[in-house]
Symmetry: C2
């Protein structure tokens, strides 16, 4: 028979009790973390979200109470009244370790079967078990810390923007399906049979319409949905910090967002970031780091040695210095000894997954140069070494191919080596903006240009004339915020003019009818005085991972889904009744 | 050709300029509200979210600028630089009315076609047009005010709860379908073919699981979804302020929520509500007001006159005083003259829609009693009048029937009369709690008991033994917050024990297998130490209506749907391609 709370009222959290509380009458409630029966004394670690405190039951003082305490097991829910006293055997490992609470009264509010996973950090239990028994997993200090920090980030975010005259506006979850993006999650309509809503991939168009609607500054933290095959750190639903402003230049928007990020670092990490943040145009980022989200916590930049080898008799190199191709390398300082032949072979396999045909290398050993291509290179070898200022112990890793392949391969190899050889300084964060993105990228799959950001991004003014003839050269007023090699936010100035928007749709290969059918409501809204506007959207999950240090997105979400988009706790998704499908006028094939 | 923002930077909002700004250099941006060309002067009202200011263009000073200004039309988007000066013809109707801005420079940032609706309040345009041209509609001062106030309520709410140690946690949008509630919106899964997620009707179970997961105090403002036929003030998606606490009694939860509501009234209306709020048990609310969400801004309580007429020769009355039936009435003070026979007939039609068979009445005129049933009543007539303390000019309106019919009819009639005859004092709000709800209500349709709140509501301890034998007598630890006759929040203490939860499912007619399949994950979680917990959920849309005074839910939502659940702006829902349906493995019948 369980006890009821009755008129007991908790007056302290477990983890905050200190020596100053000695002698007070405390009423605590929480879970039994562990219990030890020493015969005349029972010690119980009582846990709530704030931490743990030791309880003592004394057989000499109250044997009935003692007997009741003997029934306690892990994860029982209890309430106790008692008095903190100094602990004889102090525990310096927990904040409450100088005291313990001598219990006068005990209520057993609930029992527990033997829990299938331990409620403690770092027990290395299989993630499947953690997700299945999520309510136990959530009691762990780490999960409590992560989700509380996430809440703090959300609250700091809203307060910052509201303090800057932003308005929080909720945009619809049941929206119009949008092509030209990821795959939509669809929701069949019962009232409008045969028709479907889509869950929003982002509130992009809605927030633009709010600008057209005169709201000037908008903020929302909201769920977005993309029905894509899930990679490691993706979830079918994710959370976006979404902001948009009217009448502001790209610089003004970026400045305000720098203030926002500075505020988060100040409040959460106690770190004062200097401003302005670094800015790298897209082309430079690709050239130097082979990535539009470079991790700047270590150097090892990509170097272009095409000029040095263009006349080489080594055809692989000289052929690769023609238009659109290049020979580039990484100088891996001091890694010569670490990279055995076998390991280099593995690196070659690695770059091949990025389309490279091979990986050439030059080691500068104490006893001279070692390189399988030395025999093909002559004075070029010295020129390369000199140009890179390579020293004894270094190794040069070279890829020759189409620019895009070379950069993708070396960009990935750079990160791979950094992780493998611990080249990353984890003690500070590197934050930068990537700017001047291409407006379009060519999709081999669709055989047309697609928008690199989205079709609503404003081109640079000076590039607008190239929209029809040279779309590949058009740059966008787009900017991504990158932290430690992760894209945490992306934004742009938006098109606010029907004519330009129609041109953009045309460049993307939409027919006039198609554009009208899909985005007519936007073009219509633009007819009645759309202000200049732009904004940015951050991934809250990503940001939280950075601030918590979590490397698994599921560790910053209360009830996440697996990579097959199922919830192991509830079993969702599930089959539904024919009656439900009938009402929706659909059937499963 | 439009102008670009260039390096212009807005330094003031329109509506905040005052005499103290005279002589400053201001840069303003906004929409042309109206323009008047006087030949040598052009006056333009410039509008942004903060209000309106008058601009002046002077032909004598700068004729090129003047010519440019001649092109301005309603809803053009412009930026101007200029200097505020004292206005000769002051306008006391707007806050900026003492000044005007003499413009030096003008940029036309965007043009506008002639807008199909005016951007001004109270133009009585058809709501269909307002929803179709929502971006114009949103520019209206009233819509700006409503949505900004909504944002403020959200922010005050989060700050209040976060300050009280609550954690904001996001619960999933793609969840397991839940029977035993309203109809779910379903989302077909592409990866798990033939299976479906549901959009949450509320985060009820998830927040309970967060309590089991040790979060202690949870807050979320989140979208909920119910696929029901829409009544006037319903939307397919609506927003809930959702809170839950562990280790707290019903009284402690209600106390904290009173503090919350007091804070909102203080911050938004500047009103200090006295605490504790009124509390009415459900049965008393029904008896006195015929409603579980009584509007207490006026009296006119229902009175039971069964005892006075039980021996009457008027069979309609005497028959109606037997078990489960009654004769009750409203005393409509001073309405005798207003209610002609014809009007009373209409009231009778009205109560018949609530199942009443008729409406008896007694008028106390200056020249005596007037009543079609006077001839059937004798001394009872005097007894009724005396008992009700009816006076000359009053009318008594009587219904005799099953209790539930009598109460429903008179409860509705009470509200109807109050609205028709302006009996409601709109200058103050009446707030109260309804408590001690029945745990179950009998569903004729389903031929079984259903949960009045939901199946997770904890019964009163003393009523638990009646669960099996007398479910209709079991009262719940449930509480609704009612403001001015609107239920704005509802909550309860929850069951936290598998055994009791299973009993509850059984009482609701679930088989063991059924309960396991549908709610097994909850029952499982309860096995490992579920703390006592409870909470409340408020309708943010309703709350915002109360604080803005809006009487249409669509006026407190940026992009609402119509009663047929369509969005007139985007056209959602729409038909989708066969490819999309194929991927989801479903087809439209």
């Amino acid at each position: 028979m369980l006890d009821h709370l009755g008129n007991w009222s908790r007056n302290h959290y477990c983890g905050v009790l200190r020596e100053k509380n000695i002698g007070e009458s405390v009423c605590l409630m929480g879970w039994v973390q562990k219990e030890r029966d020493l015969g005349s004394l029972i010690f119980v670690d009582l846990r709530d979200f704030s931490g743990i405190v030791q309880l003592v039951f004394n057989n000499d003082t109250d044997s009935a109470l003692y007997e009741k305490a003997q029934g306690l097991r892990s994860e029982f829910v209890i309430a106790v009244k008692g008095k903190p006293r100094e602990r004889s055997n102090k525990n310096p490992n927990i904040p409450t370790g100088n005291i313990e609470v001598l219990v006068d009264e005990l209520k057993i509010l609930n029992t527990s079967e033997v829990p299938p996973i331990y409620v403690k950090d770092g027990d290395n239990v299989d993630e499947t078990m953690r997700l299945k028994y999520r309510t136990l997993d959530l009691r762990k200090p780490e999960m409590q810390r992560n989700l509380r920090l996430r809440s703090k980030i959300s609250q700091l975010t809203r307060n910052f923007f509201i303090d800057h005259n932003f308005v929080e506006i909720e945009t619809p979850m049941l929206t119009k399906p949008t092509p030209e993006g990821a795959r939509d999650y669809l929701v069949p309509s019962r009232i409008n049979k045969g028709k479907f809503y889509a869950l929003p991939q982002s509130p992009q168009l809605m927030k633009q319409l709010l600008m057209v609607g005169g709201f000037d500054r908008y903020i929302q933290i909201t769920k977005c949905f993309r029905d894509e095959d899930l990679r490691a750190n993706r979830q079918p639903e994710f959370t976006q910090i979404d902001m948009e402003m009217s009448f502001m230049s790209q610089e003004e928007i970026m400045d305000l967002n720098e203030e926002f990020i500075q505020m988060l670092y100040r409040e959460i990490k106690g770190v004062e970031l200097s401003s302005p943040f670094k800015k790298l145009p897209y082309n430079e980022a690709m050239d130097r780091f082979g990535s539009d989200k470079p991790d700047l916590r270590f150097a090892m930049e990509i170097q272009n040695i095409s000029q040095l080898v263009k006349d080489s008799s080594f055809k692989v190199f000289s052929e690769a210095t023609k238009d659109g191709k290049s020979v580039r390398c990484l100088l891996a300082k001091g890694l010569g000894k670490d990279l055995s032949r076998k390991k280099i072979d593995k690196l070659e396999d690695f770059v091949k997954t990025y389309g490279a045909k091979g990986l050439a290398w030059i080691k500068i050993n104490e006893d001279g140069i070692q390189s399988p291509i030395a025999k093909f290179l002559d004075k070029e070898l010295d020129a390369i070494i000199e140009s890179l200022e390579a020293e004894v112990g270094d190794i040069i890793l070279i890829v020759a191919d189409e620019d895009s392949t070379v950069l993708a391969a070396l960009g990935a190899l750079r990160l791979h080596l950094a992780r493998e050889f611990n080249l990353i300084d984890e003690n500070h964060d590197e934050i930068l903006w990537i700017t001047d993105f291409p407006q379009f990228e060519y999709s081999q799959e669709e055989n047309r240009y697609v928008a690199m950001h989205h079709p609503f991004t404003h081109p640079l003014e000076e590039d607008i004339p190239k929209l029809e003839e040279n779309p590949s050269e058009v740059r966008a007023k787009a900017y991504d915020l990158v932290i430690n090699g992760d894209e945490v936010g992306g934004g742009s100035i938006r098109i606010n003019n029907s004519d330009l928007q129609e041109k953009m749709f045309k460049a993307l290969g939409f027919s006039k009818e198609d554009a009208e059918e899909k985005f007519g409501f936007l073009l219509d809204a633009f007819k009645y005085g759309a202000p200049p506007h732009g904004g940015i959207a951050y991934g809250l999950d990503r940001l939280t991972m950075i601030f918590t240090g979590a490397d698994n997105i599921r560790d910053v979400i209360a009830f996440p889904k697996t990579q097959s988009a199922t919830c192991l706790m509830t079993g969702a998704p599930v089959e539904v009744s024919d009656k439900q499908l009938d009402e929706l006028n659909i059937e499963v094939k």
